[in-house]
């Protein structure tokens, strides 16, 4: 018979196999350890790093203020980029050909020219348009501004970075939107939801799962791209500009560039953690079980550990 009487069966012994040896892995690990140790030693003992100078400048008010300016630039530029990106992506998918090609043209221009050029361009905008007016195109104008008072260096930096980012975000958002099944739109429309409502309530929230990871990437990239603004001498300066100002006086180039690098690393690390939790939030419903956060995993392990030790001590007490 194919199915034997299970009551008669005894569970066979656990397999206790001798594991396969991996000598190659040991060799590779050895090489990595030796190289790592050599690098660590050189960093610690090479006086040219001037760790003392790094410590001296790391928390000065100049540098701290510059960190703040860098964060401001990043946040504002990304805000402009994301809003513009959603707008351009929706325009790009519009049935109106003129609207769609306007979006295409924008992306073509801003993605096709270097950011540094765009930054310099906005900085010198007054040479192109000395005055800005608010009013009806070809009609009456209500207010005039001089470009030099309206677009200060900080504004020029934010505009250049944000408008450039908009072109990249547009493609990211568009990829997100077309990743949502058409059936979702069918279902929403069959329930009587308008196009706009469908986009806002059904399509975009589900597109977020695809949009968030590259947006996190863009934010991290933006944080570092803000250093290009040092080319137009912001006052007060951002991180790279600030350390440049210092080493122009003291000639301690390497330690001050390290000060900036360490700050950039700290900021990108914080962003990476933020991205993890954001992805988790927008992943709800997409996977059967959300992955544990590191904190939850730690708590569970601690609990399991405590549980195990309590059980062990109870068992020991019983035996006694």
């Amino acid at each position: 018979m194919a199915v034997s009487d299970t009551a008669e069966q005894v569970r066979p012994d656990e397999i206790k196999a001798i594991p396969v040896r991996h000598p190659g892995r040991w060799v590779a690990a050895g090489i990595v350890v030796v190289l790592g140790a050599a690098l660590a030693k050189s960093i610690a003992t090479n006086g040219n790093f001037q760790w003392g100078v790094i410590r001296q400048y790391f928390l000065t008010s100049q540098v701290l203020h510059a960190v703040l300016v860098t964060i401001e630039l990043t946040v504002l530029a990304m805000a402009i980029g994301i809003v513009l990106g959603v707008l351009l992506a929706v325009m790009r998918l519009s049935p109106n050909p003129l609207v769609a090609s306007a979006s295409w043209l924008y992306i073509w221009f801003f993605r096709g020219t270097p950011v540094l050029v765009q930054i310099l361009f906005w900085y010198n905008i007054s040479a192109l348009y000395p005055r800005f007016s608010v009013g009806i195109p070809f009609g009456p104008q209500f207010a005039h501004f001089s470009a030099n008072t309206l677009i200060k260096t900080f504004v020029a930096g934010v505009l250049a970075l944000g408008l450039n980012e908009g072109a990249y975000m547009a493609e990211i958002v568009r990829a997100g939107i077309i990743s949502v099944e058409e059936g979702q739109t069918d279902a929403a429309q069959s329930l009587g939801m308008t196009r706009l409502m469908t986009m806002r309530r059904i399509v975009l929230p589900q597109a977020m799962r695809v949009i968030i990871p590259p947006t996190g990437n863009e934010t991290i990239s933006m944080l570092k791209t803000t250093s290009l603004v040092s080319a137009i001498a912001l006052a007060p300066p951002e991180l790279l500009g600030a350390v440049e100002n210092v080493y122009d006086r003291t000639y301690q180039v390497i330690p001050l560039l390290l000060v900036a690098s360490i700050w950039y690393l700290i900021l990108t690390t914080v962003l990476t953690i933020g991205q993890y939790y954001l992805e988790r939030y927008f992943g709800r419903g997409a996977t059967r079980d959300l992955p544990e956060t590191p904190l939850q995993r730690l708590r569970r392990n601690l609990f399991a550990f405590r549980h195990a030790t309590v059980e062990a001590s109870e068992a020991a007490a019983e035996r006694r």
Binding site: E181, G183, Q184, D186, A187, A188, Q189, S190, L191, G192, M193, T194, R195, M197, R201, I202, P205, Q206, F282, R284, G285, A286, T287, R288
Partner: protein
């Protein structure tokens, strides 16, 4: 006699140069349950999508509850309806899809209350109360706060039915509601649909290959082939003496 719930006159629909509907005419009375059968590509699903204007027809006329679908006629001129007006019409027609199309980022309850709150402007509290009743009616009272990915196909389809019913539609369209389901899950969905037909006298148009359901619940069966309705009659007629050769072939293949 009352006005028909759905009336189609010589409906034509093409996708590019491919003509999918080649003159479909039909009347469905209020409270009637009509099953549409036919080989894939015969235009059944397209016709269903035309009824709530998910597809726009190229020629002919289509009325739901006495009103033209997607257009307004005054004199001999035909005007397209604005998005908001089309939405108002669609809100009164429920549709259930082959692939369920539940909103993946919302729980079962959120799926059901979304349209009543946003479209019908029902208060959230009332919408939730009604949704709970509906989910209980389709046997999912314990799955209220579960996301679609955690539900079986049959459960998802029952949530989808509850979602459509939450708009209190005067007409329900079912587009192969059991074709994507594992065989053992088909029954639970058909039970819910039978209850709609028998207990609530809902007007239903069902594209299906479930002849058992057609025999029990349908007032009429339509056979579509190549963009036309080629035969129509009671379920008994189709089981006992189908007239057309094409119908005989098709039934022999699916039964």
């Amino acid at each position: 006699m009352s006005e028909p719930m759905v009336k189609a006159e010589q409906v034509h629909k093409s996708f590019g140069r491919l003509e999918v509907l080649k003159g479909v005419s039909l009347e469905v009375q209020p409270g009637e349950v009509v099953c549409m059968i036919g080989p894939s590509g015969s235009g059944k699903s397209t016709f269903l999508r035309c009824i709530n204007h998910l597809e726009r027809i190229n020629a002919g006329r289509l009325w739901v509850d006495g009103k033209l679908v997607g257009y307004r006629q005054s004199g001999d001129k035909i005007y397209e309806l604005r998005d908001a007006e089309v939405c108002r019409e669609r809100a009164q027609i429920g549709m259930v899809f082959q692939r369920f199309n539940l909103f993946g980022h919302m729980t079962a309850l959120e799926n059901v209350i979304e349209a009543p709150i946003r479209v019908k402007k029902v208060t959230k509290r009332n919408a939730i109360a009604e949704a709970r009743v509906l989910l209980e009616r389709v046997g999912l009272a314990d799955k209220v706060n579960v996301y679609p990915a955690q539900l079986s196909g049959g459960q998802q389809q029952r949530v989808a039915i509850a979602r459509a019913l939450a708009m209190t539609p005067k007409l329900m369209l079912f587009d192969e509601p059991t074709s994507a389901l594992d065989p053992e899950l088909v029954g639970e969905v058909l039970e819910v649909m039978k209850a709609l037909a028998f207990d609530f006298q809902t007007t239903m148009i069902v594209v299906t290959h479930e002849m058992g359901f057609a025999r029990e619940a349908a007032d009429r069966v339509l056979m579509m082939d190549d963009g036309r309705i080629i035969e129509e009659g009671t379920p008994e007629h189709f089981f006992q003496a189908p007239r057309e050769e094409r119908t005989k072939q098709f039934l022999a293949a699916i039964l």
